[in-house]
Structures are given as structure tokens and as C-alpha cells.
Symmetry: D2
């Protein structure tokens, strides 16, 4: 059995397992709100690295930069030190210039913890100017799109 | 002139000034996405402390706990080391059990950087069970509600 | 092959593998000084959890609390995004009330990155008052002591 | 009265005031060990910025880079949310290529919290190769050197 803090549990579906550390928690004994962003960004980084198939980043693999345009988190469960969660990552909407990475975090017994959307936007690599999603990147994103009702996502997503 | 990293610039309207540190920035030279959550939570903490009028926390002042139910950030500008931003904090929607703290961050010349909504939900202080916003807390929140068009908010908000 | 950010590579000797993330690095392109403390504390937490053999913490397993009395880090190598390091953890000096967790971080080819000492001190679990290392804890610490010249440590340690 | 999280209280002697935030503390209710590094690096950044007298960094002002060669912290007091500390910053030893920034953190009533040493090393700005401290930088460092017994440092330093 792997013993770690953050690692890829499965590639298809793409799931990141994360273990809550003592230092992630606040005086109420539960994970501090700000730490959830670390959980989200850590999972998104592993997922987009997976989609980059060996390139240094997903954007670099397709000739663009992909700064974050927005992110949102909705909290449904509380976590204590040593709790484990599985963060399921898929691609949601793919628009003209931006797209959504959707993350659904559940306990190992399936109880919900949080859902989040992380939305990169494509900009030219030589200037911070918006540009369309390159066709090669769009093809990869669409291949990983899942609807919320998809069978490899928890029912509640 | 005050020289610091995060401090209250004005109480009415409530504005937190934040200076970008080198360690907040990533290899692209700009503030790392995850660090914006620190900027947001730092400003929210100073604002709710202000609303608590001396109590140890806003919830404690009214007999409830106020964990975060959700938060969202929308990024409109890029920041480099030593840049300064002013985070304007107000109360937005006040619902039955939850409410919105709205933050609008602009450069000192008014150019937009990010907008964010941080939404606490009231739970009983003796159990993590949802409860209505206490009337005394509701009165304070409503007194600080501002509509986006309010004159003490930047026009773009 | 495991793909993750921080996980236990080996239990005896105890080695934590850590992968550098983009967000760990600063505008110089290399790991920000402050992030090394996260690498150190993450490895120490996994190691002392290992020594706790199933208890919620090493101190709790022996009836004491073990706050940090001091820590020091010495940097010998620079790290870039995606670099991997192996953090070798052992017990160094064991004194009357405090002891040293020694960490030696090297690249996977053995080149040095940093060495660090993390020194907990025993305090009573009912009051923040210093107390001797309990005999049961001392026995475990001494069983994991390694001298710097020990064969399971890199020669440079 | 200034209300903030981290700001310069005095320039000569150089003192940074820091207020403990809820999110800095762990389930024991006190500041998490790893957060003290943030306190240290925050104060060091404000201090070296002061010594840089307007340049983008102290190293840049003198034609070198100044990565960290080592740091150590010794903890003597425990901090709870809303506690305030004053971090006194001076220059300690100045060697051939490296020097020490010394920080002594005390409560506002003078009780000790932590002492720390942060040691940059000069490297060429065009290559990560060690180089002597430039004479112009050495002059500034020596002008800010204080011995531990200096009257503007707490007696215990």
C-alpha cells in the first residue's frame, strides 16, 4: 500500500488521493479553508501534467500559456487530521478560449467533501493576450470531458 | 507612510492594502494562483474581525460558528513582486443561513485585479449543524451590505 | 511507478520522495526558500508517524506532547520544477528532554540538496511544561539512531 | 493605530510587527511550526528591502544574487491567535561570501518567542557560482551590524 500525502491513485478515471496533515488543520481541529485551495491546485497540477503526456506543461505542449481565469469551491464535508480523500478530475465545459477542470472530492467511502471548478484561459506564450484554444489542445480536452452523470463520477457530482 | 505586507487602509469603506512579495510569485514571475486565496482570506479575516467589534470572531460574537460554505475567485489582472492592491470588502447577499463577503481587488490606480465571494454558513457552536443567521448578526451584516453600484465601490465591480 | 508529490519510498531506511511543483518555485525559477520548510516538515511528519506505529502521533503514543524546540536547514543544491528529491530520515542525538530528527535530501542521482535537523522537546500533555523523554519513547528513538557514517546514509551527510 | 498582519513598526532599530492569524494555528491551538518560517522570511524581506534603499532587492543593488545558504530557528514561546510579536532585525556575522540576518522575536511585553538566523550567500548574477560580498554591500551590512549585547536588542538575545 502506498503511504503518502498526495499521489495519483488511478489514471482512468483520474483520481488523486490526498491525506490530511496536522499542519493543514486550524484550531477548530479541521482543515483550514485556505488549505483546500492547495488540495485543489495539487490535484489539477497532477491531472494537467497527465494530459500533457510528457511535455513540461499542458499549455507548453500546445504552444500557449494557460493562466487561471477563475476558480470556485463548494464545501460539503469537514476533514480532520489523517482523513483521506479521493479527488476525481475531469474536463467540464470547453469554451472558445477557456475551459473547466472539474474536481469532485469524496471520502474513500464516497461521502462528499468538496466540488471545485478550475478554469484556465489560453493566452499567447509571447504576450499575456487571450487566444483561442488550439485545435490540438481542444481535441485532448474533449476526449477527457465527462458529464456530471458519467458513471465514473460519484452519483452526487 | 505605512510600510507593510497586509494592513487596513480604511475602515469605512473597508479596504485592506496588500503588497505582493517575491515568495508569492511563481516562475512566470507573477503571483501564483494559490496565493490569491491567501490574499482573499487575509482580507476577509481583517474585515470580519472589524465587524466583530472586539469579540474573538464574528461568529463567537453572536453564538454561532461560521465555517466557509463556498468561495469563488475571478482573475482580471496579473501581479508582479512589489505590486500593491487594495481589497475592498463589503457584505453582499444575506440568506437564511449563509451570506456573502464580497471582495474587489484593484491596483492603486483602479485597474481590476480580482473579484471574489467568500460565503460563510452559520452552524451551531455545539455541533456542526446548520442554523439560521442570528438576528443580531443579521443586523450587522445588513448594515454593511452594499450593492455593486454603490459609490464606495469601484465602478467596475 | 508511483506518481505523486510526497510519499514514502522506503521504510528501512526511511526515505520520503518529494517532487517539486511549479507553485513551490519563485521568479528565479527555483524552489522558494520558505517552501523547503514544507518539504522538511512533510518528511518529518511521515517519519514520526512511522515511528508511532499506528498511534495518532509519536508523542501521544508515549503520553507526552512534542512541540518543536528548534530547526535548522543548510542548502547545498538548487531545485527546479519537476525535480525529484529523496529525503532520508533518521534519529540523531537523543538528549534528556529533546532529540533530533535528521534529514538529508539528495537528488535521485545522489547529488546533495539540503540537510536539516528538526528537534522536538517533550512536554507534559496536560501542561506546556518540559519533561524527560519517556523510557518507551527513548527506546524507539535509540533503535532508529544512525551515525552520519552509517552505510544507509549518503557519504556526504 | 495601525491594524494589520505584518508591517514595519520602526526603522531604526528595524522592527516588524506581526499578528498571529487563526489560519496560522494548528489543532493544538498554537502557531504551527512551519508558519514561523513565514514570519521569519516576511521580516527578512522587509528588512533587506529597507537595506536595499529603493532597489528591487538588496542583491540587485550590488550586482549579485543572494540565495539562502542556511537558516535556523530556536523556539522559546508559544503563540495563540491574535497574539502580537515584534521581530527585531539586525546584521550579525559578515563573512567572505555569506552573512547573517539575525531576528529576535518577542511579545510586546518583551517575553521571548523565537530567535532565528537567516544566512544569504552571494552568487554571481549571471551564474549560480559563489562570489565575494561586494565592497558596497559589505559597507551597508557592517553599518547595520549589532552585537547581541547592543542596547537596542532585548537582553536575552
Amino acid at each position: 500500500m502506498i503511504h503518502g500525502t498526495e499521489y495519483v491513485l488511478s489514471q482512468d478515471p483520474f483520481i488523486v488521493r490526498r491525506v490530511v496533515r496536522w499542519g493543514d488543520c486550524d484550531p477548530a481541529g479541521v482543515v483550514f479553508t485556505g488549505r483546500f485551495t492547495d488540495y485543489l491546485l495539487g490535484a489539477v497540477a497532477l491531472y494537467t501534467e497527465h494530459l500533457a503526456q510528457g511535455a513540461s506543461s499542458l499549455g507548453a505542449a500546445h504552444g500557449v500559456d494557460t493562466p487561471c481565469r477563475g476558480m470556485s469551491l463548494s464545501f460539503e464535508g469537514t476533514l480532520w487530521p489523517r482523513d483521506e480523500i479521493d479527488i476525481h478530475c475531469t474536463i467540464g465545459s470547453v469554451r472558445t478560449r477557456s475551459y473547466d477542470v472539474r474536481c469532485v472530492a469524496v471520502r474513500t467511502d464516497g461521502r462528499p467533501v468538496f466540488t471545485a471548478t478550475f478554469s484556465p484561459i489560453c493566452v499567447r506564450s509571447d504576450a499575456r493576450v487571450g487566444t483561442d484554444i488550439p485545435p490540438s489542445l481542444r481535441a485532448i480536452l474533449e476526449a477527457h470531458q465527462r458529464t456530471p452523470a458519467s458513471p465514473d463520477m460519484p452519483a452526487r457530482a
